[in-house]
């Protein structure tokens, strides 16, 4: 089975990297790999893929981020623009907003936690 597939072509990765550099006017960022404390949102631009997750009717919109601050992962869309974004076609998107990271304990005996990244979207661009 394919695991940890690599789908990144170098030229495209370079383009994305350049785009990130252009976005570096955002407020101070934590270093990659050192996320901010829980419930301490920071402003950030996230470039990624707008997706639907969850089974109906409890579907949520996520932006699967291709960039920092928390690395690749699903950022749940929150805030007043959530409904508007829910109506957008799926696919590439860039969002700006306040990002936060929460840990939600799992029920059961596993003792695991689910990391839920959220972005309260203030603006977006397709």
């Amino acid at each position: 089975m394919t695991t940890a597939r690599r789908r990144v072509s170098l030229p495209r990765a370079c383009v994305l990297g350049a785009a990130l550099l252009l976005c570096a006017c955002a407020p101070p960022f934590p270093a990659p790999g050192s996320p901010p404390p829980e419930a301490t949102p920071i402003s950030w631009d996230i470039q990624g893929i707008l997706r639907q997750v969850g089974s109906f009717p409890h579907v949520e919109m996520v932006v699967t981020g291709l960039s920092e601050p928390f690395g690749q992962g699903d950022y749940y869309v929150t805030g007043s623009l959530r409904k508007e974004i829910s109506a957008l076609p799926l696919g590439r998107i860039k969002v700006r907003g306040r990002v936060s990271r929460r840990e939600i304990a799992l029920a059961g005996t596993s003792g695991g936690k689910r990391i839920r990244l959220e972005i309260d979207v203030a603006a977006y661009e397709r």
């Binding site: 597939r5 690599r6 997706r51 009717p57 690395g71 690749q72 992962g73 699903d74 696919g91 939600i104």
Partner: protein, 608 residues
Amino acid sequence: MMKGSRHARNSGIARLSPGTRRFGLNAVLGLLCSVLFSVLLACGGGGGGGGTSGTVTIAGNAATAGAVLTYTDGVSKTVTTDASGNFSITVPSGWSGTLTPALTRFSFQPSERTFANVRRDLDAQDFTAHRDFWTDTLVSPSAWRSSTFRLAYQNSQCNVWVLPRDEAGISQDLLEHYGDYFLNHSWPDVTTYVHEPQEFFGEPGGRINILFFRMAESYAGYFWNIDFEKDEDLLIYDLHSNETNVFYLNIDAAVDPAHQAFATLFTEGTLTHEFQHMCNAHYFYFDSVGSTKTRWMDTWADEFCSTTMETVFAGQMDVYIPDYQSSPDFTTGASDFLQWQNNFTQYTSASMLGTYLLSQVEAAKRPHLFKTFLESTDSVGSDPDTYTSVEDLLAALQDPQVAWAPGGWKTLTDFNATDVRDDWALLLKNFCIGLTGTNSAYNTYVAANSSQTIAPACIPTTAASYALKPSGWFIGKTHVPDTASTSIASATTSTSGTTPAYVFVYNGTIPTDSDLNDTSAAIASVSTPVLADQIVARPAAKAEAARMGRSRAINRASGPRRETAAAPLFRPAAMPSVRAAIPGDGNHANGGDSTAGYNYCGYTERPE
């Protein structure tokens, strides 16, 4: 498994009152020897015989296995109910005391039973089991409430709960039927084909909780993954978790006195459908911990798995194929299920695509299809121009454990947008050919798994016919030299000197943009005769054109966007100019044939 005990319990309850009264008369006799006790019984003394050696037996049912009943017989003692919920204690004749059931998270009615000077055997000393659950009735805006449910039925794999307020709407026999269906079908089918949960919590015995109550009428049921999370951590979202394996069914969908056979069939499908969602979520919550997975299945993919499971195993072809054959929605493009809108048409399309794929897979390899699909959802690349969930399905189909390999199939190795696009187009093309009856394997499969047939009803014979409207199978974004091109080979990942475009692959005719915007008249039909192996679909009336317009807004990414004060940094995307005038109008010489080439392809200009 509780069925027999329930009947015994009911008949026992019917005998309870007279027996109690007789017991009261006998109580004044004080301590009796065993001989005298037997004489009393011979004289019609009651619901039970006396015990031997000066003991009596008290028996009953506590509705659930594993309940612990506490009583005092010199010292504190306990007895645990068996797999059928039955219990029995033996105490000295003349015993007085209290019997109290308990089980984590459960409550019982009555909360205890008190006995005084028991001198004969007693049966039917029953309890009913209850438990509080958070439910969402799905009535807007939010209808959260905590309600006490009654345990109506239990077997080795599930608890069937019913809300007392609503239970008059559903019979005990039906609740037991659904519980048995889950035990004998949903559980083995889903755990074999998708994923078997390994984490059981919040429920003694590891059973799955199935709740029946009334919810908004448009819903048959739901599963919600937040039940896998700690309730206290959800308070900030104003949500609640039951912290157990649970899904929810609508009584009103499960019961239809005028058409109960259909309602039963449909609800059996819902049981399998929601359980698939639960097992699917289980995999991501509990079984991929520590892996490289960074994302969940897309909604369409999750629904695809559920609809296919219910269709294959719960006879839902008999639900979906008639809808496919009769619903005008299939002319509207609503069959684009990649963006889930909860249209019934989407469920139909997804179930038929899934069953088609299974029909093409060697029987011994079929159990691997969904498992492999699940396992493929492990990461996301950095290329936002392709649906990663589509890549996942294609990867699953090409996995050696599945190995569905139609002619022309490319092996996905680097997951570039071109290969994904082309293989998805090929997949859809073969699917549509299957639906038109030219793929005998699918027809055979349908015939073997339902009372339905595909071929006769779905072969288009005239220009007014249609078979399926997968128009708007939105794939992703690309660049093309010219958006007027209808060649799928024009798509490129190169950004140099090319025009950014959305790409769609579909079968059949797409109306022109002016057609779509003109709802005052029917869209003209094409005059070209349609051959049996073609896929043709077109809106034929005003209403359908209007629906097509909505679908276009979804599928073609062409909806206008407003610049807002909150978005000062971003310009709104411009309305793309539609360049999807595809020549051919259903003429299979244009690529819609069954032997060569791709299905139709269109490009729409998009902002970079």
